[in-house]
Symmetry: C2
Subunit: 399 residues, 2 copies
Amino acid sequence: MPHTSQRGQAMPESPIRKLVPLADKAKARGIKVYHLNIGQPDLKTPQVALDAIRNIDRTVLEYSPSDGIRSLKTKLAAYYHSFNIDVTEDDIIVTTGGSEAVNFAFMSCLDPGDEIIVPEPAYANYTAFAIAAGAIVKPVVSSIEEGFALPSVEKFEELITPKTKGILICNPNNPTGYLYTRSEMNKIRDLVKKYDLYLFSDEVYREFCYTGAPYISAFHLDGIEENVVLIDSVSKRYSMTGVRIGALVTKNKDVRKNVIKFCQARLSPPLLGQIASEAAMNTSAEYMLEMYNEYVERRKFLIDGLNRIPGVYSPIPMGAFYTVARLPIDDADKFCAWLLSDFEYEGYTVMMAPASGFYTVDGLGKDEVRIAYVLDKEDLKHALIVLGKALQAYPGRTI
Amino acid sequence: MPHTSQRGQAMPESPIRKLVPLADKAKARGIKVYHLNIGQPDLKTPQVALDAIRNIDRTVLEYSPSDGIRSLKTKLAAYYHSFNIDVTEDDIIVTTGGSEAVNFAFMSCLDPGDEIIVPEPAYANYTAFAIAAGAIVKPVVSSIEEGFALPSVEKFEELITPKTKGILICNPNNPTGYLYTRSEMNKIRDLVKKYDLYLFSDEVYREFCYTGAPYISAFHLDGIEENVVLIDSVSKRYSMTGVRIGALVTKNKDVRKNVIKFCQARLSPPLLGQIASEAAMNTSAEYMLEMYNEYVERRKFLIDGLNRIPGVYSPIPMGAFYTVARLPIDDADKFCAWLLSDFEYEGYTVMMAPASGFYTVDGLGKDEVRIAYVLDKEDLKHALIVLGKALQAYPGRTI
């Protein structure tokens, strides 16, 4: 039997999905599992998107252009303009989810051995796609004590080598919910300019900013227009993660030229998802506001509730729909597995993502979990009660 | 401006899609272009698949499991059984098109520098995905004179080095339409066994076999069950290339373990495409027979017509819906571009894929094109007339 690739072996398991088999077993035992592990909003997909699918009048579900349907790109450009992001249709390449945008960005910009600097904790799949591309993630660690603010410029500069090709940020941040300030974004801009780096900027949560502070896109930064590769997705803002439509946006023609070749190799992004996405761009302002208000309330509710559980601490996330919380436990991986395998409270348990998977530095995040607030308040309320009971019962508790 | 990746620069442009800008310009001039370049069937998608989309009753278009919806996998297993392919749901991983199955197969089995042997001409995107994975394609050249039969075992063995990790075949073949015989498949099996290689077997055209000869799947070969990685797609058999649903099928647990990690990184295959695909598996036998008969006729019609044009030669393809034909021209890349830029016959022209893109050996296929017979007979008839006229008018003609 031939041996498999070292690259494949080195790929991380998803911290968000690796516990799914245990969750399935818990469900098979009749236990109700609250999914706080995954960014799958429970909100209804906008009716206009569902209607576009239900009313589809095509008779052949055919390939679309490799870079996406033009009319979708036109709508995306108008959408970005509404955020003062000055791009044209030609700067936009439609991808199979934001995931593929990350993958193609790395493949197109980075060679094996190239390094990118990523503030951690970070979305685990950046590391996965870096490994796929043979690139190396150099982490700059942000800490829960400082609310996951951007580490100092000096910490970035310490990591810069001739191999450094880019910085990756996620803003608003998954998993921490942190929203970068203008001052922090300017620091990133200066670094990018000084060392002529790519700035990979994942901004899929831009609709989810809860403070008065403005959302600063990488495209709002002057003088690095050619360095920016923006990652986007319709998944979160229209509660339609399953359609698998995202976008890679860059003014850098050389990057686009490479990306298009990766696009051609996989032929086209999903047609039905593009149809749903184009329609979703007509979602009413009421839907968007209602969704926004719902997350504002859930956030307050979750963070208040978490911080009332003895020994638990969560900073207040300013965006996205996640928080990274510290728990009074020995090991979040063990705890999260135990919740599914050995615990129930009146027939319920909770599933969370151990934060260790969001750090590449060994040992970090050991007592932290990522919690997604994608359930309604009643479920969140009960999930918090279940979590509190679990923390009392867990053999590895530290208080 | 940071430089882009060498890998991205090395990626080939799709020979099937690279002429699209010229075709768009021709269309803008009011010229009707017959698309013989791309495997996009014109046949209607089965009504059951369209109905499943039109009647969708979900309110949230959510992530599916990373390896695909279980009920779809169950149907796929039953489908494979009908071809005497003995696999279970657990051996099947749903992918975003057959393209992703190729990509994940290479990423999971091959490391940078590893080699795979591929009979050429071959589907161009294998090379693209090999480059993405840092792997090296070693071509074994089959020739139009021999009807693109499998080259001798000796030619394979000459290429085997300690770096050789696998053989890739496409059966029935894209672009040649060749169908491997039992004897040829046994030779491949013996090589795979002798050198303990992976056998990557792309069998997406299995429904399209036009001779009495049986379709031999890689899974029909005894003693290499753990070596086989089968690539599949619903795109061609249900005329729904846009849904982007394929499958990677292997009994090799270690390979699956790696593949699943790549699946998790991209979260899930498209939900809507999976719903359409599951429904499509209930397509009536009548539809499948009608489609089959249609291709049988088109094939006869196209090949007869091609061989009647002076100086043109096409072998008779036994499967898929392509042929590689030799034309009396200096350079197929120039000719195919000229057809779109400089030629029209009564307002019509044809678009074909230059065969050079299906060879990795420089200079091969220079007077060959791939022609897809995915148009109805009336269009094919007229396209052949237009092609004949073009060959008379082309300045680089050789007769």
